[in-house]
């Protein structure tokens, strides 16, 4: 059994990075995730594991530092919150185009603009549909506990290198700030081996070029084709989700991250009222568990997407259930930093699905 600690989600991210054998972290302070940079500078992992920690002059610089360290073949991470992640979109697009691995954590706060420092889930579109310019996808993990904040860091590095693609951990201000018991995985030593594609000095090989530029359109189309196939492989092999009371469910809530934690309670309330409600929690938002939802659809009378946004993931649920046009799919959400209670979700659910039947 691993070491057990009581930690904030943000601290778990930082500790997990050190334990995952991360080579470098570049970040810039922003609420509600500044504890990550603070934890790392206090821990001073350079002394223990050799992991570099550097505070950049902006999120723009931070993501381009991530791009550089990733191009050199290293395990590298950055973290930020919504406005900072918007600034990073340029670098993320370049990483996707140059096929570079890297881990980016977004501890989401309410937007648009400077918004609020309170939690939100309003960056779903940005995270799962692209965010920056060009056709690309990130692999998106959505932790729902402090435990998963730690575990997803390790998983994210594995997936980033498996696909040579940036991986985004889409968290939010609740999970970042709340404290829970977490069982930490045993430290993995940093590796000195660099991948054969890395730009790290051409010792004993011909030279490597890391770029996302292909002025010849036919070559660039080929690269895009490769990317498209890679995203299709992710959709085939990397879907992760969790079901809760789904076996006999007649109604389904789909919710991720903090909202999924809240909706577990909503399921209990409904079950106490004799309503067969289940919960499907996507763990990967891209790839989205469309097949799992479609497989449940025949037994369902309705699906409620619960998100702290105006309704973004609900569009993916509608796509997943397009073979079942009669199935009622609705959204309930609070936004701008307001967090719904299990009771109000239950009330919204009954209004939408039960009273009108």
């Amino acid at each position: 059994m691993g070491e057990i600690r009581l930690m904030k989600g943000n601290e778990a991210i930082a500790e997990a990075a050190i334990r995952a054998g991360c080579d470098a972290y570049f970040g810039y302070p922003i609420t509600p995730q500044s504890e990550i940079l603070e934890y790392l500078t206090v821990a001073d992992p350079e002394k223990h594991t050799g992991m570099i920690v550097l505070q950049a002059e902006s999120e723009l610089a931070a993501i381009n530092m991530v791009y550089g360290a990733a191009a050199a073949g290293k395990k590298v991470m950055t973290t930020s919150s919504s406005p900072g992640i918007s600034l990073m979109q340029e670098g993320i697009s370049y990483m996707a185009g140059a096929q570079l691995p890297g881990v980016i954590v977004n501890v989401v706060r309410g937007g648009p603009g400077l918004g609020t420092i309170q939690p939100s889930q309003s960056d779903y579109f940005q995270s799962t549909k692209g965010g920056g310019h060009g056709d690309y996808r990130l692999l998106v993990l959505a932790p729902a506990s402090v435990q998963e904040m730690a575990d997803h860091v390790k998983l994210a590095f594995d997936l980033a290198f498996k696909y040579r693609n940036p991986v985004l951990i889409l968290s939010d201000g609740i999970i970042g700030q709340m404290m829970e018991k977490v069982e930490l995985f045993d430290p993995i030593p940093r590796s000195e081996n660099l991948p054969d594609w890395a730009a790290c000095g051409k010792k004993n090989r011909s030279h490597n070029i890391i770029t996302s530029l292909h002025l010849d359109a036919s070559l660039h189309e080929k690269l895009n084709q490769q990317l498209k196939e890679k995203y299709a492989r992710m959709q085939r092999d990397e879907v992760r989700y969790e079901t809760y009371y789904c076996e006999d469910a007649e109604y389904l809530i789909v919710a991720y991250g903090s909202s999924a934690r809240i909706c577990q309670k909503t399921v209990s309330i409904a079950r106490n009222h004799g309503i067969k409600l289940g919960l499907l929690r996507p763990i990967t938002l891209f790839p989205f568990p469309s097949t799992a939802i479609a497989n449940l659809a025949p037994q369902l009378q309705g699906i409620l997407s619960v998100e702290m946004s105006h309704g973004q993931m609900v569009e993916d649920i509608l796509l997943a259930t397009r073979q079942f046009p009669a199935l009622k799919v609705e959204h309930y959400g609070r936004y701008g930093g307001v967090v719904p209670t299990p009771e109000e979700v239950y009330e919204a659910f009954t209004k939408l699905f039960i009273q009108f039947n």
Binding site: D23, A24, F26, I52, L54, A56, E57, S58, L60, A61, A62, N64, M65, V66, Y67, G68, A69, A71, A72, K74, V76, E90, G91, Y94, A98, A199, C200, G201, K202, K203, N204, S206, H207, N208, I209, I210, T211, S212, L213, L215
Partner: protein, 258 residues
Amino acid sequence: MDTTIIKPENLVYQRSRLMTDQPLSFCPGCGHGTVTHLVAEVIEELGIESEVIGIAPVGCAVTIYDFIAIDWIGAAHGRATAVATAVKRVLPDRYVFTYQGDGDLAAIGTAETIHACNRGENITVIFINNGIYGMTGGQMAPTTLAGMKTSTSPRGRDVSWQGPPIDITRMVAMLDGTYYVTRQAVHTPAAVRKTKKALLKAFELQREKKGLAFVEVVSNCNSGWKMSPVEANRWMEENMFKFYPLGDIKVDGQLLIK
């Protein structure tokens, strides 16, 4: 043809073996081609080709990685020194340099330039300043001289509302993190030799972990300036060198200017 004079002892110059067979994309007469050759020569002479990583810019030199056979990373516009910072930090025993133009380094990348210099990153920054955006067709750059005509200052740069040209090299020399700051040119054989010496020194300082070395090369842009190469070099001497005087600005961490 009599080839008897082609003997090793008669050799005065040859192209660096690090140059690839790819034809240079620069306009004939442009200083970029000369500096690219110099970078290859310096890396070859120092014997560091297996240990060096170049960071390419966005601008006229965007495909410089096709010309010199070393490991390269193409950076986003202006971000080269942030990229170089990370590469050097994770691979401290390698040589890392950026090759950037004035739009890249002194406009969109000003923050990254200033902060990499201020942190004293142990890298080499090669800065080609021709006072114009060449790649996109000759628009006004932050370094464009007062009164100079470009496609976006068609009546000449008016400092009253477009601001004066920025001397970023002087600015970075003021920062404690820079160890060697110099301004050179490649318009004459003597100037080329001086620039090569400056580049050699910059890479040697990196070996000695002395801090950031910043080599500006004031260059022409005959296409953007709408001049012949010879006219462009003359114009550069008469105008650019007045605002951007050649010579060392900081040596061994000591400022040589007031």
